[in-house]
């Protein structure tokens, strides 16, 4: 038994190393005073400076933020409704409809959205189409989270509210909403992260014009690799880490209130 555990530990540590080494390397080389990502020359903040003077990049970051905020707001709104609907009406088709975009390869969603925008809606591709596209794939994630939260709760609580004379709206506002709030917040944070990170769907629905952060990174990787990419990457990682940290703070508070 003991030997088996040691073997497991070794294998696991190797897997963890495999997961972390690449990212650590990216971060380290963002401070490297060399144009090549090959060997350590010396410490510098030069790449961060160039980054903050890169007009295109800043614009892309701003656009991505706008998209992520709008898309996550919309997706949270619609996804919460979807989660509630799936929970309330036990139709088998509802979860399938909402979760399919989550399970399909992204490229299929990207292609079909492209066709949908151009052929059905006659839309010019741009910020607006990206926001719609991101909302579409985030709804499913929010719905899953909200529904999971609702499944863990006792439905009698809603009936009790109605018995005490609350209107449906009051029930929702005073009972349902506070109860599912952690799920809504988690869903919103997740949508935001998904949206700001998404490359494939953005790639298909972006059209020409406005620079978007992941596309900008993609172009940099494809065309000219400089440690500037490392600098952007490091900053993005920091952002995601912060969001996850915030999310887990909410999560643990949920756990605590449940264990009381």
């Amino acid at each position: 038994m003991q030997r088996r555990m040691t073997l497991l530990w070794i294998a696991s540590i190797l897997v963890y190393t495999f997961l972390y080494i690449p990212l650590i390397i990216v971060v380290i080389f963002s401070f490297n005073n060399s144009k090549l990502n090959a060997e350590w020359v010396g410490f510098t903040l030069h790449w961060y400076q160039t980054l903050f003077h890169n007009h295109e990049m800043l614009l892309a970051a701003r656009n991505s933020l706008i998209i992520a905020i709008s898309a996550s707001t919309l997706a949270t709104l619609l996804g919460t409704m979807a989660g509630l609907a799936i929970h309330r009406y036990k139709l088998k088709i509802l979860p399938i409809l909402a979760f399919t975009p989550v399970a399909m390869p992204e490229i299929l969603l990207g292609v079909s959205l492209l066709l949908f925008f151009l052929q059905v809606l006659n839309l010019t591709l741009g910020m607006f189409s990206i926001i719609i596209a991101h909302t579409t794939f985030c709804i499913g994630f929010v719905a899953i989270i909200v529904r999971a939260r609702l499944q863990g709760m006792d439905d009698l609580i809603f009936e009790a509210a109605r018995d005490l004379g609350a209107t449906p709206w009051q029930t929702f506002y005073h009972i349902t909403l506070p109860l599912i709030r952690p799920a809504i917040i988690a869903g919103a944070l997740m949508s935001f992260t998904l949206s700001i990170d998404d490359f494939v769907i953005t790639f298909f629905t972006k059209g020409v014009g406005e620079p978007i952060l992941p596309i900008q990174i993609y172009t940099m990787i494809k065309v000219a690799i400089t440690p500037e990419v490392n600098a952007v990457s490091t900053l993005l990682m920091l952002l995601t880490l912060t969001l996850i940290f915030v999310a887990t703070r909410f999560d643990t508070s949920v756990l605590r209130s449940e264990s009381k």
């Binding site: 897997v15 990212l23 509630l84 992204e106 490229i107 709804i139 990787i221 990457s233 887990t248």
Partner: protein
Amino acid sequence: MILTSFRLPGEFGGLAPIYILPDKANADSGLTIETYQFFFSDFIYVEVFLKSFAVAIFTTIICITLAYPLALLIAHSPRKFRNLMIMLVVLPFASNFLIRIYAWMIILGPESALSHIINSALAFFDIAPVTLLFSPFAVLIAMIYVHLPFMILPLYTNLEKHDPLLLDAAQDLGANAWQRFWYVTWPQSLPGIFSGSALVFIPVLGMFAIPDILGGTGDIMIGNLIKDQFLGTRDWPFGSTLSIMLTLAVLSITGLFSWFARPTGKFA
């Protein structure tokens, strides 16, 4: 009202691939099956499909091999450490997808330490140096890297639910460590493996960014074909045909996996 508000977005994203694409394919080519005939007439396209399947299968198998020990260890760890260990698995996967691919560009690049080590080792045995980047190897390793957490999480969720008493019982009945694993743990973990495999296999099948960035010119997959048809040559009907093929492949695989991953009797 909630119902309708929900149905619109659901259908919008969910059914779009099924509704719109055949429609498109037909409308543009004047209702023919020409593009489908074209797909099968040229072996190149079928070959790309087969190659994508091969990549997906390899990735899935290697992911299972790497994920299993870690998932097992986490499931056997004291409860208070489990969340932290899972968190450590999820953290790198929260960083941008392109960044994770880019990291492998650095590691596998011709000037990287790894390339130097491997090539000097090869030189020692008088073998010509290899380029790691822009090769099928690079594509495979990045595929594994990007999708590994999708295998670890479902496996862990499954392993964690196992009743430890079963292992004790097996030991009482005289089973050694290996037998206990093979006859008790492994069969119970199959649903976890299948749901993890679905989560790895399907995205790998449709991936285009990884072969695009890390692969050589010969390493294209279905995703690259589709991307080129839509954004490169602008042959939308044929692109749609390819998408339909991919959709069919994904649907049949999802069906297959969910059939395998269905809860089986008392182990559910």
